[in-house]
């Protein structure tokens, strides 16, 4: 461990000197360079993808994550190599520390602090706890901006989720997304997602169409229910009224969704995704999990790639159909206690991280596979024509993990990627090094890119001033 720390420091120290001179996100209207160019495609979507377990920048096999070369001319390392076909569309954002989740700085649990802080920039209030109230994740902040008038403020999908100690329940071990009041549970069942989002995409049939009648029926019932909440609210005290208000807000969103889904029939871009047979995959397998991952569900595990790709297909279509502006995919959770039959890895990810002693070979294999999946998503997004530009052009995709280094769970030099945009708003095709600053700065910068002008985000103890380049200031 000591030896590793020295290595890590050396890396960061060495990288720090170049970092300051490197440009960051160039925001349209702020940078001279951007203004000089032709109008760019506005960013209308925000996508988050999480995978557990960090990168592999150390260990017996050496650094398998960090690219080599220079900012704009770089060679991807084995883990990121699968992304090579879209190298011009990504930013490898090195030199960012997940300071808010750093167990050597704050009283946070070493995995949980990372997951609850990754998108909130908030500091967990001790092991087992969630971030403080009023610490929303950036996707939720952006949902207010990007999802107005859409059926869903945001959608959260997760594959093989809540394993190990979280036992299928929503916990700081598996929560990444937070409204101002609570963690947000993800959707787990691929068939249910399909039916909910794309099940009745015919519509527009008029008065006797069965779908129209079903929707009108649903609406009558929700109207009735809505009135019950309104009536009861008045009889309750302040605290309880606030609880019912939260419920009512969500209920009204659901009512709006009923109205919205009656409207648009499928278009050439918005189609029902191909339904995939996921028989054998148990979306709530984790309800039967053991703390140490000793309860194995290899039948479900074997379906992870299939289900994951199906979920990504649906994510892409949910965006293409404009059902939401904000969507996310969570590959399992910080526990990561499932096996990888398709990689011939019969132990769980956490075992390879440290439960069984750090196994850099297996961790590299797993992370490389995740990169293949990332490529799948990006290519799907690139293939959707949103009218002269692709879905990827109008989206920013954030890829992150809750730790940097598997064995130590250190939070320095996190493995973070950004992808998407049309190359003007956000200059992709770069490997940048931010020089060891808190990742909260990135979160603020991302918000800025979307036109949210705030100058700080997350816990005030952590520096979150936007990443700036000398040319932009």
């Amino acid at each position: 461990m000591t030896r590793y720390k020295l290595n890590r420091r050396t890396v960061i120290k060495g990288a720090g000197t170049i970092a300051i001179a490197l440009p960051w996100l160039e925001v349209m209207g702020q940078g001279r360079r951007a203004r000089a160019q032709t109008a760019s495609v506005p960013l209308k979507r925000f996508v988050t993808v999480y995978q557990p377990g960090g990168g592999v920048r150390s260990g017996a096999n050496g650094d398998k994550y960090t690219p080599t070369g220079s900012e704009t001319s770089f060679t991807l390392s084995p883990i990121l190599a699968p992304l090579q076909p879209l190298q011009s569309r990504i930013i490898v954002a090195d030199g960012l520390n997940l300071t808010c989740g750093d167990q050597s700085k704050y009283s946070v649990e070493q995995h949980q602090g990372g997951s609850v802080g990754l998108l909130t920039g908030a500091i967990q209030q001790g092991s087992g706890n969630y971030p403080p109230a009023m610490s929303p994740s950036i996707d939720q902040v952006l949902a207010n901006r990007l999802s107005t008038g859409k059926a869903y403020g945001s959608l959260q999908f997760a594959v093989r989720w809540a394993t190990g100690k979280s036992h299928g329940k929503l916990s700081p071990m598996n929560s990444l997304f937070f409204s101002t009041s609570a963690p947000i549970p993800p959707r787990l069942d691929p068939q249910d997602i399909f039916n909910t989002l794309f099940g009745s995409m015919v519509g527009g049939g008029g008065g006797t169409d069965p779908n129209t009648i079903a929707l009108m029926r649903k609406k009558s019932i929700l109207d009735f229910v809505d009135k019950k909440y309104d009536a009861l609210k008045l009889k309750l005290g302040t605290d309880d009224r606030a609880r019912l208000d939260q419920h009512l807000t969500q209920l009204r969103d659901l009512e709006n969704r009923v109205v919205i889904t009656t409207a648009p029939p499928p278009t050439s871009v918005c189609k029902q995704p191909t339904k995939v047979d996921t028989t054998g995959y148990n979306p709530t397998s984790a309800l039967n999990s053991a703390d140490d991952g000793s309860i194995k569900d290899t039948a479900t595990d074997a379906k992870i790639p299939l289900v994951g790709q199906f979920m990504m297909d649906m994510m892409v279509m949910a965006l293409a159909c404009d059902k939401t502006g904000v969507i996310s995919l969570q590959w399992t959770d910080t526990e990561a206690k499932h096996t990888f039959p398709w990689l011939n890895l019969s132990e769980h990810h956490h075992f390879y991280q440290h439960d069984g002693g750090f196994r850099p070979t297996e961790c590299t294999q797993i992370q490389t596979w995740y990169s293949q999946m990332h490529l799948y998503l990006l290519q799907k997004m690139q293939a959707v024509d949103m009218g002269g530009h692709s879905l990827l052009d109008e989206s920013l995709v954030f890829f992150g993990s809750e730790i940097a280094d598997p064995p130590s769970h250190a939070k320095n030099n996190m493995p973070l990627l950004l992808a998407g945009g049309d190359g003007k708003t956000v200059r992709t095709g770069r490997w940048i090094n931010c020089g060891g600053v808190p990742h909260n700065k990135l979160l603020t910068s991302i918000l800025n890119v979307y036109g949210d002008a705030r100058t700080t985000f997350g816990d005030s103890r952590v520096d979150s001033a936007p990443l700036k380049t000398p040319g932009l200031a």
């Binding site: 704050y106 009283s107 092991s127 706890n129 929503l170 000793s294 309860i295």
Partner: protein, 616 residues
């Protein structure tokens, strides 16, 4: 980095050296009142300084701690002569309660609530019923809708199904359809809403029926009825446990919970489902308007077999037994272990609890009241079937004991090896997460869950199991961390509670020696196990687990911790400083009843927190 480590050390020290007041620690008034957890007065030794620098102290604060604070700061002054119920936040049905309620309302046994999103897991509340953690998500509301739709469709799927809602539905005509719909609404709504429902509300339901019935030519009587059911199942009156309370003469600060609201409180406490007809009748007859009346009805519910699953639910969430079926063990070392043994061990633990709580009338030495928590901790018997009997082996049991067949039979233990709940095979196996025992995990379970001392994982470290080759016994291997003062500040409490259970291996078998093979010489050693230990706050030492559990049984901390778990379960919230009187009354009654568990549950219903709610 250096200073950070020192700080961490300071936190750990201040966190662990103090002693905890019996059950009074948790969540007590965050003095800041901001909910930030910054100034956490609670938890271990009430260490005020412990957490200030890093944001948590004892780490006991749930997200709600702050909102509990009444601004009294340094220690609340609660007057127990006046009614002090504490908070009473609006509770939503848990998934478990939702399933049971649908079952009892409509006879639908499909557990439809399993389609609801994952419930929030909480460090403080083990039962998924903390109202402060029930913030509704968008997905939840969506699922309430789709689940209600499918439940309603099943309830109206056929004439037979409809006739179960009301006999009128077995023979409807165009002429009497609507009046039958009204009869269904009139019969169902008061049960779904768990209150009397005025005609105006029935009219609204019938109006919904009418509009859906008229929606299209394809609409039917059944689809109209289904719409009413679907609506009721999404109404706040069904999903939430609404309580308005009754004014209390001369006291504007509190409201009395009575009538059907009290019936609902009782029913969900003892049965985790809606009240039955008899309980509603008792409520309507005013039998729940007095403390004695509440107690009498509570007793009835508790004596009803429907309370057994609730008690089992409580212990399944408190004890490390739910995962026993799925534990995998090294097959070379433990060839006899199997999933079915795990299942049997879980049933064994559940049956011992059920028997001691509900059936046992025999007092054993030491003389603990039958059905009491200390009696459970020291029971000299267990329940096994033939398979488990031969798995454990005859030496586990008293001379002459035997068990045949698949039914669990009560057998006496060989009390030189095992005594009480914690020494049962299922507890030993369930508290072990690999093929090697981990005394720290076992000790942590006792210290955290049975003594309510909230000891956190150390921060800033990656806790690793010790090198399996660093000592011949677990005690040798795990004693190393106690050499450091920082580690020892917590482990001095944890380890002496864990080492005594070293006589039980990773699959729940008794062992006097631990086998260890030196990897260098390939020599195998069978080293006698030193199973000595002690209980924090209790004088004396134990030579082994049999002695340790007897010390635990005398610990007031253990008793009040047990009571506070039940209080959290019953109140559906964390406990706070304002619960001082509740705790005092419940723990006193518990103690006076010889720590009898049924008496504890009855005493809960007599506490201000159960009988009253704050006026709004």
């Amino acid at each position: 980095l250096g200073s950070a480590l020192v700080l961490v050390g300071a936190v750990a020290l201040s966190g662990c050296v103090g002693s905890v007041g019996p059950g009074l620690g948790e969540g007590s008034a965050g003095a800041s009142g901001t909910g930030s957890g910054g100034a956490n007065v609670s938890g271990l030794g009430g260490s005020t300084g412990g957490g200030v620098a890093t944001g948590t102290g004892g780490g006991v604060a749930t997200g709600t701690g702050g909102s509990v604070a009444t601004g009294t700061g340094g220690g609340p002054v609660v007057d127990c002569n006046s009614i002090a119920p504490g908070r009473s936040p609006l509770r939503r049905l848990t998934t478990y309660e939702y399933n049971n309620t649908i079952r009892d309302l409509l006879g639908d046994t499909t557990n439809p609530g399993s389609a609801l999103p994952a419930q929030v897991d909480s460090k403080q509340n083990l039962f998924g019923n903390d109202a402060d953690e029930q913030s509704p998500s968008s997905l939840l509301i969506e699922k309430y809708q789709s689940v209600a739709e499918s439940v309603a469709a099943r309830a109206a799927a056929s004439t037979t199904a409809l006739a179960k809602l009301h006999t009128c539905a077995s023979n409807v005509t165009t002429a009497n359809e609507e009046s039958c719909a009204r009869m269904i609404a009139t019969s169902l709504a008061p049960r779904a809403y768990r209150r009397t429902v005025p005609t105006s509300e029935i009219d609204e339901l019938v109006a919904l029926y009418r509009s859906v019935r008229a929606l299209a030519t394809t609409a039917t009587f059944a689809s109209g009825v289904a719409a009413m059911i679907e609506a009721m199942l999404q109404a706040p009156d069904f999903l939430y446990r609404v309580e308005l309370g009754k004014a209390v003469a001369g006291n504007t600060a509190v409201m009395r919970v009575s009538g059907r609201e009290m019936a609902t409180r009782l029913s969900y406490l003892f049965w985790q489902t809606m009240p039955d007809a008899a309980l509603f009748q008792a409520a309507d007859a005013g039998m729940l308007d007095s403390n004695d009346g509440v107690r009498q009805q509570a007793q009835k519910l508790l004596e009803d077999p429907k309370s057994h699953p609730t008690v089992a639910f409580f212990f399944d969430n408190l004890l490390p037994i739910p995962d026993l079926a799925g534990l995998t063990r090294d097959t070379t070392t433990f060839p006899k272990w199997s999933s079915s043994i795990g299942v049997a061990m879980r049933t064994e633990v559940q049956r011992v609890l059920e028997y001691e709580i509900y059936e046992n009338t025999t007092q054993v030495a030491p003389p603990y009241m039958p059905g009491s928590w200390p009696a459970i901790l020291t029971t000299p018997y267990t329940f096994v079937n033939q398979t488990l009997f031969s798995y454990y082996g005859a030496s586990t049991f008293a001379p002459g004991a035997s068990a045949t067949g698949t039914t669990l039979t009560k057998v006496d233990l060989n009390t030189s090896q095992r005594l009480g709940l914690l020494t049962l095979g299922g507890m030993a196996a369930g508290s072990t997460i690999s093929s090697n025992t981990n005394p720290v995990l076992r000790g942590s379970f006792i210290v955290n869950k049975l003594m309510c001392r909230n000891i956190e994982l150390p921060v800033g470290f990656t806790p690793m199991a010790p090198d399996p080759y660093s000592g011949k016994t677990a005690r040798e291997r795990y004693s190393k961390h106690s050499a450091s003062a920082v580690c020892a500040s917590c482990h001095q409490f944890i380890d002496p509670l864990g080492f005594p259970f070293e006589n039980y291996d990773a699959v729940g078998m008794y062992r006097a020696t631990e086998r260890w093979t030196d990897p260098m010489t390939n020599t195998t050693y069978d080293t006698p196990i030193d199973a000595s230990g002690s209980v924090p706050g209790v004088s004396g030492t134990a030579k082994n687990a049999v002695e340790l559990v007897q010390l635990l049984a005398t610990s007031p901390e253990v008793e009040s911790c047990f009571a506070s778990h039940w209080m959290r379960f019953a109140y559906g919230r964390s406990l706070a400083a304002a619960d001082g009187c509740n705790q005092q009354s419940v723990v006193t009654a518990f103690r006076n009843a010889g720590y009898n568990i049924k008496q504890l549950l009855l005493a809960l219903t007599q506490s201000d927190g159960f009988l009253y709610r704050p006026a709004q």
